[in-house]
Structures are given as structure tokens and as C-alpha cells.
Amino acid sequence: MNSPQSRFDVIVVGGGHAGTEAAAAAARMGARTALVTQRIETIGIMSCNPAIGGLGKGHLVREIDALDGIMGRAADAAGIQFRLLNRRKGPAVRGPRTQADRKLYRQAVQRLLKAQPNLTLIEGEADRLLLDDGRVAGLVLSDGRSFSSPSVVLTTGTFLNGLIHCGEHTEPAGRVGDRPSLGLAAHLKELALPLGRLKTGTPARLDGRTIHWDRLEWQHGDAEPELFSELSTRVAVPQIACGITTTTPEAHEIIRANLHRAPMYSGQIQGRGPRYCPSIEDKVVRFADKTNHQIFLEPEGLDDPTVYPNGISTSLPVDVQQAFIRAMPGLEDVQIIRPGYAIEYDYVDPRALDPTLELRACRGLFLAGQINGTTGYEEAGAQGLLAGINAARLAGGQDGVVVDRTKAYLGVMIDDLVTQGVTEPYRMFTSRSEYRLSLRSDNADERLGPLGEDLGLLSTERRAHFTAKQNALRHAMTVLGERSLTPNEAAAQGIALNQDGRRRTAFEILSYPTVSWGDLRRVWPELGEVPEKIVARVETDAKYAVYLDRQERDIAAFRRDEDLALPESLSFTSISGLSAELSVKLETVRPRTLGQASRVEGITPAALTLLVAHAKAAQRSKTPARSLHEA
């Protein structure tokens, strides 16, 4: 074996959304970091739809931004149609989203990475890990180069044993035009990791110059765009509209007549696809009574004629794709630039991971993104960030960092992954969080800023911005807490409160659904000095106050169970009194805390009692549970 050419603290494999966040985060924390990718020019590429954010996903981007990650800033730089979803619903479920210019996005990511100190970009194909006594010691590339490092983050996306399906045609690939990672896949198999197979798909890309745009309806962005990053001040590039068309009964007929040629139905594909992102052939079969489906025609860039038809992902043969697409209004003469396809790939059962995203079976090896069974840029990016943080901390001899379910969607996602595993590609929804009212896109910085500061993740600029906003918020809360009215005084000002004689603070008055900030300003004109962004934040807290108070008790109960760490050495199969089935399940997940154990499927009160007993016995015998830095 060649001796390693150079030494890094952290090596990240993969230049997608997980890889870039992982590498940037590790480097921000001061770790000497290398990012290894097949082609540097494809770093930050959007392999599927040209959009960032959405419901749940937009929340994740804000969380990435709160920890000074890349995705929010890159999306703001490349955004060509910003829309705040659920604008008319409450603040907890508003999700920022933008169409992104694919090229501008990639350039923004690459610009941010190249400006990042401590980060080296290496072009090459990862082949296998260097191992030392079961721990990661470095990485070997297929060209023979090798690098030593105590931490490696794998973010291989769909490249592990990737197999593309397009009609009857199949082809090993990581992405169209890119080689799959076969060597690495074989190597991971040697590590005896629990692997599974998933499937995802993408639609054909259309030539916008051959679309009859005049026959289509339009969807415009918001008049007042809501950006992702706290640091962004304005939209960077011109905004565009998307076209809207629909599938037709004729198109459905073409699809139905060719189902036998669809890999999903011919048995050619074994992996599970997501229920919320079905192929058009799936939609036509499962929702047979629907005669049409709405399709958005999203331009991929300002100076790029490529159009992404959102809603017709397919792996039907090329001739069938062309036929059904041309049966849609406005697309009668459309030229296909690149056909759609499905891709099957290997993933690692995420229950083999600690909530730090480190593999239990191979210390020093972290996994993030689609390799963990997730889908989506935002899900990948958020995992990459946490994996990067923990890889850097491991290299620095520090404890792992865990973000819990009450703190962030990031925490919800990772807890779901490592505790429940996946049966389909995992995507974030706001409904997955039981603390949805607390985990908002408008308070991500407050939730995670202090952690970012502790970990040394934040730039000077970010820290200054964060501190200023916190001070403004605290000031506004003080002002509202110091002013008060009796019901009679309020009535005199035209504000109706319960006539109970109780004096209420301005904050309490604002919690009434009928009272607005404008009402308060009429009473106390000095409130006009509070900046608009702060007003929105304070109003949200006030309107949710009753619910947030109620939720606090749940959070306290959650914390109690989360605070009881189970000993790392605990062998679940040797606990007397546990059923065989349950001990196997617990051994698969290896929960780190009593709280996590309580979320393992099929757990019983008796089993939890036994776990408490073992945890307490370990505490008394001073066997330290592996400590985790609780975020």
C-alpha cells in the first residue's frame, strides 16, 4: 500500500448537498478538511428539480442557515422565483421555497467552498477506506492516491451501486453521465453494513424553445420575496414565472397502453420509491379516476432553455415519454433534451448509525444524505452539516453533538432515521414534528444560533447579526412586558378583553386573536420603533402563547427521558426479562437514551423499566455512559 500523501482531520466523499455542507461545516470549525469528488465542476449540482425549500424543507434550509451553512445563501444567490408557501396560514407552517437557476446555484456553492479556509477540493474517485483496528484511518482513491484522516464522511447519494432504468434499458450510473461507485459499494459490503435498495426518478428535460408558452397559464413568484438566509438582503437576479399545463386523458391512455414497458410494473425495479413523489405511471394506475394532473413547467435557468416538467417523473421508454408528453397542452411540438429515468441505489439502514450520524460498526465513519435512505437536497444538506460537525469534533477529540426533536427539524429527521429506519426514501414534512409550533422557519436562528456559537461554526458576520437580532427581540419583549392595560382602559382604546378586572401586559393582549400590532401601536406609539421583522416574530410568539405553554410540559417530559443515557456497553440481548423479539429490535437500534428507547416500535412499559434499572445501575457503578453534547 502506498503511504498516505497527506493528512486531513476530515475527509468528505461526495460533492452534492450533503457533502458540501459537511465539508464546509468541518472547515468552519477549524478542521483541515478535504472534499473528494469525481468532478469538481459538478459540486453543488442539482440532480433533480431546480428548486430549494418548500414545506418542512424550507424549515431545514433555515436551520442550515442558522448554523452558517451554504444552502440558504446559495439559494438566495440563484433564486429566480421565490414563493412563501402557506402564506395565508400561520407562521409555523409557512415554508420558503424558490426556483433556482441551476448554473447560478452550482456557481454559488463552488464560490462559497473555494472561499472557505481549511478546505481542499480533490478530484478523484473514492475506492475504499483505510482502516485501523476497525476504526477509520483514511481513504484510498481508485487512482491509488491515499489520504489519512480519523474521520471520513460518506455522502454518495445515488452513486452506490446506482442502476438507471429507462424503459427496457438499464445502465450502471451514479447520475446520468456519471459513473456509479462500485468499488466503494463492494468495500462497504465487506464492512457487513445492513444495506437496502431504494428507487427514485426524474422527469424528461424539455427544450423551452419548442414549448407553446402562449397556450399556458402562469405561476408567478411573490411580490415581496421571502429569502432563506438571515444574511441576505435582496433578490440577486431577475425573477421569472413558471408555466402550468396538465396531463390529458389521451396522455393517460398512452401511459396505460405501455405499462408493460415500465420498469416499475415489469418487475425490473426492486427498490422502493417514495409515495409522495410517484412516477406519472404510478399516478395513472393508483388514481385511475383522475383524468388529468397539473404539471409545472419550471425553467432551469435564466440563460438556459432547459425546462423541468414537475410532476411527470417516469422511467417509461423514450418513445413513450415523447408520445405522452406531446399529448399535453403547449407541449404538442416539444423536443426532449434528455429523457426521464428511474435510478435504484444502495442505502445503509440508518438504524446502524448513532444520532451523531457516526456508524457504530466503524468508528470515524459518518454517513449523510441519500445513503441514509433520505431524499431531497434539504434533507441531505442538514444531515451533511451535522455529520461534518461531528466528524470535526471526533478529529479534535471532542464528544459527539446530538440535536434533539424539540430543537430542530434536523433533530426530528435524524431521530426518525436512527430509531425507526426507513421503508421508502424519507422526506421531511412539518407533520413529522410533534413540536411544530415551536420549530418554525422564523425562529431557526434562535433555536440553533447558540449551538452554532458554542461549536465555533459561525462567522464573525453571522455572530454579529445573530446578537443584534437577539438584542432587538429581547428589547421588544421587555417593552411589551412593561406596558399593560386593565380591561376598562383597553375598552377605552377600542380593544375588547375579558371584563375580569385583570391587568394584562401588552404581550398578553397581543395573544388575543383579534388584537393586532397596529392596535397596540395606537395605544403606545413608541412601539413603532420596533423593526418589522421583530414585530412578526413577537406576534407569532403571542398568538401561539397558549399552545406553546401547553407544549412546554411535553417538552419537559421528553427531556427527562432524553437525559437518561443508556450505557454504551449495555447488551440488550442479555437483559433478562426482555422478549427475544424486543431485544433484537433494541439491539438493531441501540438507543442512546431512555427517550429514544421509548420510541422504538413495540417497546413495553416493563422493558422500559428494565432499561431504567440498567441505566441507573451503570450510573451507580460509575461506568460512564458515552457522553453526548446535548444541543
Binding site: L55, K89, V93, F287, S431, T604, A606
Partner: protein, 437 residues
Amino acid sequence: MTNINDPDVIFAPASGAGRAAVSIVRVSGSWTRAVLEQVCGAVPPPRRASVRRLRDPADGSELDQALVLWFPGPASFTGEDMAELHCHGGRSVLASVLRVLGQLPGCRPADAGEFTRRALMNGRMTLDQVEGLADLIDAETEAQRRQALRTLEGETGQAVRAWRDAIIQAMALMEAAIDFSDESDVSDRVIADSRAVAQSIRDQIESELAKPQRPERLREGYRVVLAGPPNAGKSTLLNALARREAAIVSPIAGTTRDVIEVHLDLGGVPVILVDTAGLRESADVIEQEGIRRTRASIAESDLVLWLRPPDGDPPSYIEGQVLVVGTKADLGNSDGDLTLSAQSGVGIDQLLALLQQRAEETVGSGAGHIITRERHRAALIETRDCLDRALAGDAEAFAELVAEDLRLAARALGRITGEVGIEDVLDRLFAGFCIGK
């Protein structure tokens, strides 16, 4: 009074089923003192049994006169502040005490093994002690599960299952409106649809709660009618069972012309024995009246003990549950489901055991039974309250708050029906809507 970081106060009957003069309810948690203040006024001195009147703080009505013990933590079983309420043995008293405790804020029935878990958390128990208890907790869990299953049988069960299904539907519709509002398959109508479903569950739960509950049934007791041909030994048996002269006993047929009730306590379950006139057609006006009453008693009974003397007739015209008892075993009788002799006492204990078993099957048995039913009731009340809040909310402007109340309603209902998880909701959502642009 209550700190958000403290766990709830939990309570449970600590004495098991059985013939007992006293039922003990254990209470544990950091504001146990406040619970005592509300239910029995002044808190007794630590670890000293003191007589207190237990009252329902809601209306001041007296529940029982009880011995109350106060164990300030950490020197208690759980390590928390604890109390024991030693109530009089009647089941209706126990049921009402449990009901009142369950209505106090932050106070709820203990989950299986929860006292043990708290004791462990507070370092009051060792691993060895707990391993012995695991089986016990499993048994407790199993008993609760079986109890829940039993509740889920029959009409009520069907209704409860339908509610679970409906609440998943209401949540799926609401979550579709929130998480997939940009999908063309999700129309503006889903919020109204969700609301309609929630309203319907809410109304059904309300009418279920308004129905008279089984604790009344328990208060009434298990009715056993002694029947059989004249001079079969009914009154003799009654006296033997009651161990007192409750009915006139005479060797002449037709002596008992009225219906006589004797109340027994079998293993804590109230059993009412009803002695009747001998069933035989009679020209005697008084006796005819007795026979009419007997038939009426049989119609209202849970069980008929048909006493069959040697060479007597088997029952041929009685509907419902019948147990045939061969009497006068000392005279060589061997007919019937069991035989006994009231004179010698042979077979009396077996009969009592059998009666207790039948009574428990019908009216319910064991402290766990009551707590489980109280638990169900509490869960239904909470479900209804959450649904009320959900329905009062502005679902268009604050869908997320309505969704939160629906989630809490599902969580409360889940205590009866089994947990409603987000995967149940998502399954429904993706089956019902074509999601995925």
C-alpha cells in the same frame, strides 16, 4: 403551585382485588401535597395515619371518610412526595375517589409499572429488585391490554375503532391542507371536510359519555335468584350462605311467599341473593303472587341458581344463565353442576367460589378494572375537550393550531385504541391524495 419540569402526579389503587374492608390508593409526585389539600383539606403529619373526610373539590360532596398517610419525599417508595388514602372497601367509593383524583390538574392514573420506574429514577430500587418486578409489570400491562380489548369488543368497541379511524381521517385532511397545500389534488375544501369529520367524532364521544356507566352496574351488584321446586332447600341454602337467619326456613312447602334479598360481599364484589317462592302452579292467591314475583325476579337476574332436590325436575322454562345445584347431598343427591348440603356445609365453599367467579366476569373484578374504566373515561373526556378546541379554532387562518388540537385529541384517544402515529396519518393521506409534483 406546579412546576412545569416536574412529572405529573400519578395515582393507582394499591390493594388488589379481594374481600377487603379497605382499599388503598397510592399517590406520587412533587405536588402530592397540593392534591391532598384539595381532596382532604389539612395535610396530616408525616407518616402518621389520620382520619380525613375526602371530598370532591368540584362540588364539595363527601366521598368517604378515610385514613390518610403523608410521606414526604425522598424517604418514600418512589422517592417523591407520596400519600396513601385508605378508603372503605366499597367499589363505588374507590371508583369515585379515582374519578375525583383524575379530574385534578396534572394528576392522572399511573401507567403500568410507573411507580416502580419513578422509584428507580430516584435511586430507591436496585436492579435485582426490579428484575423480579418485570414479570409483574408485564402482567399488569397484559391485564390492561386484555381489559382494553374487552372494552373494544361489542358495540362500544366498534364505535371506538370507528373514532380512531375517523380521527386519522380528520388529521390526514388537515395535514394535507398544511403540508401539501401547493398540490393541485388538495383542494380548498379539505379543511371543511376535516372539520366535519372532527365534529362527528366529537358528537359521538359526547353521547357515549352521557350514557350511564358501568360503575352503577357495579353498585347494583350481581343478582342471583334462588329458584327450584318447593321445598328444594332454597331458604336453607340462603341461610347457610348468609350465615344468618335471613329468610324463614320451614320444612313445609310454600312457606316463603315474598321475595327476600340478602347482600353478600364475595371477594369484594357485591352479590345479591334473592330467595323466591317455590315455583309451582298454585290455586292459593298469596302463593300465586309469590310466584309472579319470582318470575319477575328471574327476569331481572344475572344468574339463576336452580336448586334440584333428589329426584327433582331440571329447569325447563327459565331463560338466561342457570346453574343447577343438587341440594341435600347428605341424602345422596348427585344431580346438577355441583352438589352441596346446606345442613353439613359440604359444597358451600365451592358454590361461593363459583358465584364470585361468575360475578366478576359479569360485573367486573379487581382494582385494575375500575382504574381502566376510569382511564377510558378520562381519555374520552380529554379527547372531547381537544376536539372542542379544534372546532372552536379558525381552521383557515390557523390550520396549524387546529391540527395541534387534533393531534392531542388523537393522543388521548390513542390511550384506549392504541397509539395513532404520524405514519398512520401519512398512509391515509398518500392513499387519498395524489401527492407529488
